[in-house]
Amino acid sequence: MIAVLGLLLGVALGLVLKPDVPIGFEPYLPIAVVAALDAVFGAARAYLDGIFDDKVFVVSFISNVFIAALIVFLGDKLGVGAQLSTGVIVVLGIRIFANVAAIRRHLFHA
């Protein structure tokens, strides 16, 4: 319940405060959001499996975001930033689909 409230609070804050993102970080924000989404779905799956641990979640959340941003940053430095962001998005998307499939099996047996 607290988690859901936190999500809603964050959305509300983002809508109300309209935070400005520094130009330098703009390419990384979408990647970070998708990486965080991946961590969240993984956590939900683990929770339904009964093996959820908040420390693991925090670490995986932060490291997901950090590594995703790092890969894109490296890609930018190497001149293949656009391609690498696409690659990261694809990989994370596949993982999100797999996690959601597991959650679905847990909740609906289907």
Binding site: L15, V33, Y47, D49, G50, I51, F52, S60, A82
Partner: protein, 276 residues
């Protein structure tokens, strides 16, 4: 929520936190007496109704995620598409725009050339059309298919018993043509053109199948002075008619009306030589 102390619902061998949360294969769920779906739902309900301390951290991270996601949606929906682009992307976009600009300029010059040529041909067509119309009206006056008006003379020939010889009338008309007559009409009913025929007929003169009687009224458009002189010179039309005991009166006018029309006839046998 998932602290070991809170785990009381019949799942003794779940290694809490032992596995990375996002890397658990689905078959890692311990087989249990209770079906896994029921277990999962029970956990979900319990997490929603009795949140534990661990959910605070989760809530904070989700709040960050929500704010970031909303911000990203706002950025992505913004108008200035180029603000967050990389240098390479910007160069590519610039190249694309330049190529599009070149193509558009090419299109512009093509269309301008087309417009110019169309305008040119339009001008030519208009000139040809006005030339043709001019020619049509002048030829129409000559062929008798158009009514005409202008300066000229009105000649009235009165002879006793309508006895005017065809040769005399033809001579008179030839003199008028020689003096530059442009349109001739007799008795307000017969137009005299190139094909007009004259024959003597009992009681008058047969002009184009119509018998005309005295007095003959000849409307002629042309230079009034010249026409008058052409008829009045010694031994000319006026003298000849006087010899036949007739009377000629010539009235000059600035507005002679020639209104009788002839039907244009297509030549049956004569074919024009090309591009005469």
């Amino acid at each position: 929520m998932t602290e070991p102390g809170a785990e009381t619902v019949g799942q003794p061998n779940v290694p809490a936190g032992a596995v990375p949360s996002d890397a658990v294969p689905s078959d890692a769920v311990p087989s249990d007496a209770v079906p896994s779906g029921d277990l999962a739902r029970r956990r979900l309900v319990r997490g929603l109704l009795h949140p534990g301390r661990g959910q605070v951290v989760v809530g904070v991270l989700l709040a960050a995620l929500g704010a970031a996601a909303v911000t990203q949606v706002r950025i992505a929906g913004r108008d200035d598409d180029y603000a967050g682009l990389r240098q390479a992307d910007l160069i590519q976009a610039l190249n694309g725009l330049q190529a599009a600009s070149r193509r558009t300029e090419q299109d512009i010059s093509d269309l301008q050339a087309t417009r110019d040529s169309l305008r040119d041909s339009n001008d030519k067509t208009a000139t040809a059309l006005s030339n043709a119309q001019e020619q049509l009206s002048s030829l129409g006056v000559l062929a008798g298919t158009l009514a005409a008006h202008g300066p000229g003379v009105r000649i009235t020939v009165t002879v006793p018993d309508s006895h005017l010889s065809v040769n005399l009338l033809l001579d008179g008309i030839e003199e008028l043509r020689d003096a530059g007559a442009e349109a001739i009409e007799i008795n307000d009913s017969t137009r005299v053109v190139a094909q007009t025929s004259f024959e003597s007929a009992p009681g008058g003169i047969n002009v184009d199948g119509r018998v005309l009687k005295s007095p003959f009224t000849i409307d002629v458009i042309g230079d009034p002075e010249g026409l008058t002189t052409a008829l009045k010179f010694p031994g000319g039309f006026v003298d000849d008619v006087s010899l036949d005991e007739g009377k000629v009166s010539i009235k000059q006018s600035q507005n002679i009306q020639v209104t009788t029309l002839r039907k244009a006839v297509k030549p049956q046998n004569a074919a024009p030589n090309s591009s005469g």
